[in-house]
Amino acid sequence: MEKISFFDQIARNKRNSILLSIFIIALVVALVYTIAYLLLPGFAIFFLVFAAAIMVAHAYTSYNYGDRIVLKATSAKPADPIEHVYLINTVEGLSIAAGIPPPKVYVVDDDEINAFACGKDPKHASIAVTTGALKNLNRTELEGVVGHEISHIANYDIRFMTLVAVLVGLVAILSYMLLRSYRVTKGEKGKAGLLIFAGFLLAIFAPIVSRLVQAMISRRREFSADAGSAQLTRYPEGLASALEKILKINRGKMKVSESISHLFISDPNRSPLDELFATHPPLEKRIKILKAM
């Protein structure tokens, strides 16, 4: 049995993280410049510099503290060393199998079965599991789910996915602001109509594009993390059966922001638009692949 080589994927994740940061910085600076031009044309350049400085600082912060932002957004609590000893042991065991340091373990109080991992690299990583998962999953199923998250950590998916989570949230907020400012200045005529139109387009399409990027990057990763889990646990049926339970029990109505949904093992927010924006491949397909391993 050949060990899956993570090298290509690690390199790709590191490169994508840098590209994404540059792309988002450029996008947001353009957005801010547009807003400034609409509201205070005289100070637009000042805002441009200001926005660039803020965005570089923001990228730095989300690289180093993105995990804390995500953990806070899901109200994850550190796992109790006595009550959750079994979960902690499972996480530590599988991190040994993957050859990474043990990540910090968190528990999210929610009835749905779900889990996610975040952080910038295996040395600064966290795993969170819902109470619903602890209640409904048996030993091998929980191992499968934890194995999936551990393999996200080992191949640096978490760095890229955590960055995406923080940045997608930011783009959504900014384009909302831009749309608002467009409404404010609507009445005034002769104000560089083309730029207003461009700003309007940007405000509408930036969130859609960033959501699409979010969906595309995470669907493929889920398959490879499933395979990684099978590699670590040597028992793909465990994860397959966990996914079957998710299919049966979860309703996709967790109270988490759409911008972090791609971090989860199963989509926490199901919506009618999933055909286009789904951050996860269909569970049925993942189960089928796992069972064929």
């Binding site: 049995m1 050949e2 060990k3 006595i82 000893v85 079994y86 042991n89 499972t90 530590e92 065991g93 599988l94 040994i96 199998a97 993957a98 050859g99 395979a227 099978a230 670590l232 040597r234 028992y235 793909p236 049926e237 391993m293």
Partner: protein
């Protein structure tokens, strides 16, 4: 020198640089993979030590309840002693196996003592020891995975050319006894 001479010199220099870079890559790779195996062993060692540290606690807890199982308790104590004094890798593995078997006996016997099974301390110890047991299994798996990557590296071309000059030989796998073997083995 004529332009053709320059061109040839340049190409030769380029080829040498590329060859040096490739050599550095493969030599480093072989060293990294070999170090990973050593690191994998130390992971196993850490868990074996942790388990040995918990045993006196377990014996203390169990003694009061299992008065008629002196032999089983003694077996655990002895296996632990051997574990603590074991020197080499081989010896440690053997002692580790004996301790695993002895602990299994204790936990099987504990089924007959409802009071012991209800003891909070015992429950916690059992969960911890089971956790360590599975960590040992995972550490062993990591050891074998690391050994496989290393052995593949030094037995395929061009790795084997470098391994030869570095006097590197294939490393042995961690033997798994029949009863330790997981129920399901998959390959893909």
């Amino acid at each position: 020198m004529s332009p053709v001479g320059w061109a040839i010199t340049l190409i030769v220099v380029l080829i040498i640089v590329i060859l040096v870079l490739i050599s550095v890559y493969f030599i480093n790779r072989i060293i990294v993979l070999s170090n990973r195996i050593d690191n994998a062993w130390s992971q196993i060692d850490v868990q074996l030590k942790k388990r040995a540290d918990l045993v006196p606690n377990l014996v203390e807890t169990v003694k009061g309840y299992m008065k008629h199982e002196q032999k089983a308790i003694e077996m655990v104590t002895k296996a632990r002693e051997r574990m603590m004094t074991a020197g080499g890798v081989e010896e440690k593995i053997k002692a580790g196996r004996e301790l695993t078997a002895a602990l299994k006996t204790i936990f099987a016997l504990a089924e007959n003592y409802p009071n012991l099974k209800a003891n909070e301390n015992f429950k916690l110890l059992q969960e911890q020891l089971e956790g360590i047991e599975s960590k040992i299994a995972y550490a062993r798996q990591f050891y074998n995975d690391s050994t496989l990557s290393y052995n593949n590296m030094i037995s395929t071309i061009p790795g084997r050319w470098f391994a030869g000059t570095m006097h590197r030989v294939q490393r042995p796998y961690f033997e798994i006894t029949e009863e330790e073997r997981a129920p399901v083995r998959v390959s893909f």
